[in-house]
Structures are given as structure tokens and as C-alpha cells.
Symmetry: C2
Subunit: 156 residues, 2 copies
């Protein structure tokens, strides 16, 4: 059995169901997402908002037409650190059946390279304190857990 290579590309609307399925797949996401189709309009609106913001890059890892991973990069201009741009990584997921095959590492190498191309001086992400295997993964990539990540829900 031969495999096409895994490639990173910008997400398109046709990837939306695969992406929501990946977000819903893990313990934390299963309580938060709604995978019923047709998808909730809120997901479609969010996809459009991301697609129209030049400082957002929603990407998928795909082999042929099979989506195996996703991540969102946000490029943030800022004054601190002598006006450094930051590349922020959110919503990183690898489909359950595809884990342990190095896709996550490939996705992050691509993401860091994109951040360099965009002139970022720093790459940042937060991860739930309970995701201990993710922590080890980020540390192997050279990230340091120098910060605490605070959240406040303000939804209705």
C-alpha cells in the first residue's frame, strides 16, 4: 500500500465538517461542539470570518482528499519586544486514527516556518493544563511553558 505525502494547505469550506469532527473528537471538545449536519450557521460564519481576515491562516494536513489534521495560525502585531509580530497557534487537532505517525510534528514544523515567513519573532500557544502528553510534545519542539494561560467565559 502506497501513501501520497501529507501536505499542509489552507482550509476550504469543503473541509468544515472534517474540522468540526476533529474538534469534537477529544474529551474537552466533545462537550463543546455540535457535529450535526447541516452544520450550525455559527460554524459557517466563523469560517468566513477567518477566511476574510488576512492575519488568520486556518490550515489542514491532508493526504489526497483525506483531512488528517488542522490548526489555526493568528499573526498578531504588537509593540512589545521591539515591535515583534507573534504567531499564535490554536485549535490544533490530529484525527484519532492518524495519531502517533508524526503528523503533529510535521504540522508544527510547517507552522513555525510560516511564522518565520511572516516575520514573527515569537510563536506562542496555550494548551489545557490537563493535556500532559501535549506538553511533552511542545517541549520537544523547543517551546517553553513560561506563562500561565487564563480564560474567562463571557458567553450568555
Amino acid at each position: 500500500m502506497t501513501h501520497a505525502p501529507i501536505a499542509m494547505r489552507s482550509a476550504v469550506a469543503a473541509d468544515l465538517e472534517s474540522m468540526i469532527a476533529m474538534l469534537a473528537e477529544d474529551t474537552l471538545g466533545s462537550q463543546r461542539e455540535d457535529t450535526r449536519t447541516p452544520l450550525d450557521q455559527a460554524y459557517i460564519d466563523a469560517f468566513d470570518a477567518i477566511a476574510h481576515d488576512p492575519n488568520q491562516l486556518l490550515a489542514v494536513a491532508a493526504r489526497g482528499d483525506r483531512v488528517m489534521g488542522m490548526m489555526q495560525l493568528t499573526f498578531i502585531p504588537g509593540l512589545s519586544r521591539r515591535g515583534a509580530w507573534r504567531g499564535q497557534i490554536e485549535s490544533v487537532r490530529v484525527a484519532g486514527a492518524e495519531r502517533g505517525a508524526g503528523i503533529g510534528k510535521q504540522m508544527f514544523e510547517w507552522a513555525i516556518s510560516e511564522c518565520r515567513t511572516r516575520g514573527c519573532g515569537l510563536v506562542q500557544l496555550t494548551t489545557d493544563a490537563s493535556r500532559t502528553s501535549a506538553h511533552a510534545f511542545y517541549e520537544r519542539l523547543g517551546f517553553r511553558a513560561s506563562h500561565l494561560g487564563y480564560k474567562l467565559a463571557i458567553g450568555d
Copy 2:
């Protein structure tokens, strides 16, 4: 002695020296920033990039023409949590002489209100793990330190 009220407003180019001075004022920032004037062009470019991005809001707390605090809000569209927008707060500073007078609390109440107005479901920030007094401040505002914040410097 009477005081004009402290008001939050969008930062303008004339605030730039005051903002860089605040960023340089603390232990971490003093090693990172360059307060020499005329300011390094990188700061001016960063200010322009922020001002031209409709999903960025750089704000100052001012009493009359005196700038006493600063913060940057980034509004981030995302798929997760049913397409929730996030409001992210960075570069929060209160000028040294003005601390302990409740300005920080006023700034955060304003920021959370702005995030609600923009339809965000979540407000997030990261803070250096060494800033223990900031942690207590965020917890009093209702934030939970549910995440770890990882950073990777990729500058030259």
C-alpha cells in the same frame, strides 16, 4: 486636588513614547525594549500594523493628556466552541507611579465589556509565570488559570 476621571480610549501615534516607556518599565520589559528617541522605526511600523488591523484594539488609560496604562485587545475568530470569537488581552501595563489605585481593574472591566460588545464568548490572556501578583489580580476578576502558555523565540 481634584482629578479628571480616568478614561479608556484608542491609542494614537502621540502615545507611542509613553507606551514604550511603560513596556520598558518592568523587570522583564527592561531587557527587551529600547526607549531611545526618536523611537526605533520597528515600533512605528508595529503601531501602524495594529492601527490598520480591524481586529486589533490598542488602548490607553488616560487622565486628561496623561497616559497611565495600556493594553492591546485582539479579536480572534475561531471554529472551536461553536464558532466563538475570543478576545485576547496582551501588553497590559500600568505606569509605576499609578499602581495600586484601581486603574488595572478599571482597564479590565472596560476590556471585558469591549469583548462582549464584539460578541466574544471567551476572554483570554497569558501572563509570565513569575508575575505572581498579576495572577491573584486575574483570579479576582474571575479568570481561571486553566492553560499553560508556551512560547518559542524564532527571531534572528
